[in-house]
Symmetry: C2
Subunit: 141 residues, 2 copies
């Protein structure tokens, strides 16, 4: 059973964060993130982006790309929350209008990990990916 208060807090945090991403508000994006965040991003490094300063740096080119009209819009969010640890997985529409017109069902997949520290939830892990159609047979059928 989910801890309902935690679930509600995590849902609010994700809403707030996704809105900050969409409007390019870097301080809002970082507000609830841990200093030791490890992000597995769509591009390299393979071993993950480690620490808040490097995490911050990944968003600036994303915001430039997004300023051309791209969207970052959650369409499904599933939260599993205990008293002090939680995770969530999301599907998002993420692309330029042209990309989304060409492949309307394409989704960015996002998993988030959280822990509560001194009463406050922090994001300690993110994993972003797109499904990899072409290489599927070679890599990980």
């Amino acid at each position: 059973m989910n801890d309902l208060r935690s679930e509600s807090e995590i849902m609010s945090l994700i809403d707030r964060w996704a809105r900050a991403v969409h409007v390019g508000d870097i301080e809002g994006v970082l507000l609830d993130h841990a200093d030791d965040i490890v992000m597995f991003d769509v591009p390299p490094p393979d071993a993950g982006v480690r620490g808040l300063a490097r995490y911050r740096a990944t968003w600036l080119p994303f915001f430039e790309w997004q300023a051309g009209g791209a969207v970052f819009e959650p369409v499904e969010t599933t939260v599993t929350a205990g008293a002090d640890v939680a995770f969530a997985f999301l599907l998002l529409r993420c692309g330029t209008p042209e990309e989304l017109a060409r492949v309307p069902d394409r989704r960015l997949r996002l998993t988030l990990g959280f822990r509560r520290v001194d009463g406050r939830w922090q994001v300690t892990h993110e994993h972003h990916s797109f499904a990899l159609a072409q290489e599927a047979d070679d890599e990980h059928a």
Copy 2:
């Protein structure tokens, strides 16, 4: 702070599961997985593989590929565990000997979500990906 007993249980579960994957033991792979598992796999579907039967089906072609000499070997595992909810993220060597010789630092990134039901941990979510070097500028710079 991690719940140390939970952390130890989750570490054991992951070790057991990764060994089952590596030897192609499908019942071992499924042993601790929830009926409503949602997996974001390397290949499509974008929206995830949903339910244990579909999850099971994804492993059979992987085992065929692996039987040609490929490895599935965790090299780093980080667990965050509460009393009843936990998540983990891993880096793995996953590829054929030829692939791993060509790109030795390439890593499969894996995030796992867990909940404890009736005293027993279950995997309810998996997210597998490779970093996407070529498309980085187009997709999610």
